[in-house]
Amino acid sequence: MTISRRRLLTGSTATAAAGLLSACGSNTGRGGSGSSGGPALSHWYHQYGEPGTEQAVRRYAKAYDKADVTVQWRPGDYDRQTAAALLTESGPDVFEANGPNLDQIRGKQVLDLTELIEDVKDDYNPAVLTPKTHEGRVYGIPQVIDMQLLYYRKSLLADAKVDPPRTLDELVDAAAKLTTRDVKGLFLGNDAGVGALGGTPLQAAGLELVTDDGEVGFDDPIAARTLGKIHQLYADKSLLLGAPSDWSDPAAFLQGLTAMQWSGLWALPAVQKELGDDFGVLPFPKDGAGSPSVPVGAYGAAVSARARDKDAAKAYVKWLWVQQTAYQEDFALSYGFHIPARISLAKKAEKLKKGAAADAVRFATESGFPAQPLLWTPRNQTVYQDGLSRIIKDGADPDKELKSVVRKVRAELERVAK
């Protein structure tokens, strides 16, 4: 390194270029300290926002003595980075994934991990284990349960004489009443809820994105009616749009830009710290004959099929995400709130037994649904989100828009059924 740097800075063009081609290839990547011995493994995480998370996962990795694990903390568009990296030998051995998705499984890019959790399979919450299971085989070990829910500011609702909304119609009304010149009624994300809500309104209306047997779950006039109400929120100008940080960050809610915000359970500690008791949480309110719903999802630990030492990688995943319950608990609860993916751990978690956290856990148990079913491929998501955006923002006719979405989703479902 030193040599190449000196050459680069002082040499004439010719020697510098020669030095560059030969000398500066020093590998700054994997390898690492070699302190713990055993094969080298690289483990990728997406960048978590909660302080301390990175240090924690590095600590876990260091504690493992059968392999030399290097943690890579990836900023930016994580899903796209892993997707590209899985095509090559230089990708991760072990990685967390908001999946793995169906095409990754069908393309044999990830390993079958069923045997790792065979003994304790029933201890994993089915809401997050099912989307990681394809034809009875498990391809990702759920790390924690992430859930989304609606935060509201008690004092602002009281001032406006508004009750916490129990139905979608009440939500539309409440948001309108809470909207003033400086404070908006509701924040669903800068895209007006297209990305964050996904299938949530459908679920709340008694429908779903895709049925268990692989059919379109929202080919129904009710879907158009429900999604039309989200457009109503937008048309009433009750929605906060264009905040510097998006729905997953409670900043807009804490800065007083909105009276209600759709966000995640992970934000709870920050909200609690800032607002004390002046907030409450709700599930997404029901519409018509449906029931309240909260989307739940999970990052899962997966093993790349191109891992150099597959057995070592699997053994490490089993150690961390199956056996080390203390670490799993620490990871779920010490840095922002998540519900442990293991039912036994979730029951023990003291932090989730009181106040808003207890409410949230109850919602997840009673009204949780998988936000990202395995059959809901990225293609389906794009098509659906495009349609949803046009319905909400452009005021496009929901019936017509949904017809075209249903047609495209059906074609994609047929493709993956092959």
């Binding site: 999946g99 095409d103 994300g189 749009l241 510097p244 998006d246 794009t382 923002k393």
Partner: protein
């Protein structure tokens, strides 16, 4: 080829000296070819490896059903022109092409006009010319990442502490969610201004260089002929004299517009995807091919379609401006 047959014919005809010349010529030609490749070879080799191989690979992939793989099974996954047909039938892709056309029809003349105007004004300054030139040129040093950050987070954020909304507040108007509103499509304001800010200074420099090459005697002659300073002089002298520069700038602007990706992506994408509006082809292809559902076959087919369009437009434009003629 012809040179050699001619030489052979002539040798056969007579003249010993010419035989000698001929035998000298061949090694000389070989010598030049050798030197040509010494100079061009390393570059050509690198371009071959790092541009042509990926390019041909993409073309190859475009004929296959290649989900999550770059090495599809030649027998099982071959789909012929299926991906091309699907792509052209895909409303989202054709929409993105339309978006791009609208965007370039606007941004190319606007950037051209602004940078020319800046150059004309700066060129006529007697004092502080370097200062103004620097001010307009400095943004060219900023990355799209940085510029998009300033635009998205500070100028055009949708809340009351954004700069644009603060100004609206002074005149008692409501806040506008600039990047999230589709009616009216305010997001274009952010997209267009960020590109203008980043690019105008660079093209201004090109125009300034062109202006300074114009022979001052032309202006003196025009003044003697009674041409009014201002529009007449600009129309009959300055602009025609800038023709070469203008052609180059127009070409570069069109190529740049076709490659537009960074500001769109950095301004409008979020963690869950990209909205269906203001989505140029590269952004759409990025999501198709590099998204989680890596549909590399479709993505590559779209890329080939786009590259063909770019080639046709660029070559057409170059021909129209008569650029190819001088080259040939």
């Amino acid at each position: 080829m012809t040179a050699r047959t001619e030489a052979t014919a002539r040798t056969a005809a007579t003249a010993r000296s010419k035989v000698a010349a001929h035998t000298r010529e061949l090694p000389a030609r070989r010598h030049r070819a050798l030197w040509f490749w010494v100079f061009v070879g390393p570059f050509a080799l690198g371009l071959g490896v790092f541009t042509y191989i990926p390019l041909l690979w993409s073309v190859y992939l475009s004929f296959f059903d290649a989900h999550n793989t770059v090495t599809p099974d030649p027998a099982r996954d071959f789909v012929g022109f299926g991906n091309y047909a699907d792509m052209l039938a895909d409303g989202a892709f054709t929409d993105s092409l339309l978006t791009f056309v609208v965007f370039s029809l606007f941004i190319v003349p606007t950037t051209f006009g602004l940078s020319l105007a800046l150059a004309l004004m700066v060129n006529r300054l007697r004092r502080a010319q370097a200062f103004f030139r620097s001010v307009f040129f400095l943004p060219a040093a900023c990355s799209y990442v940085v510029a998009a950050l300033i635009w998205k987070m500070s100028i055009f954020n949708g809340v009351r502490f954004g700069l644009a909304n603060t100004l609206l507040g002074y005149v008692d108007a409501d806040s506008v969610a600039w990047l999230s509103t589709t009616d009216p499509p305010w997001y274009w304001l952010a997209i267009v201004t960020v590109r203008l800010w980043l690019q105008a200074g660079f093209f201004m420099i090109l125009f300034l260089a062109g202006l300074q090459r114009i022979n001052p005697q032309l202006y003196e002659a025009a003044a003697v002929d009674g041409a009014k300073p201002g529009w007449q002089v600009f129309r009959h002298i300055t602009f025609p004299q800038l023709r070469a520069t203008s052609v180059a700038v127009a070409l570069l602007l069109v190529i740049n517009a076709f490659q537009a990706f960074d500001e769109f992506y950095n301004l409008l994408a979020d963690s869950r995807g990209y909205p269906p509006y203001a989505r140029p082809p590269l952004v759409y292809l990025y999501y198709t091919a590099l998204g989680q559902g890596q549909n590399l076959g479709m993505g590559s087919a779209g890329a080939v379609i786009l590259a063909v369009i770019i080639a046709v437009v660029t070559i057409g434009q170059a021909r129209w401006f008569g650029l190819g003629r001088r080259e040939a």
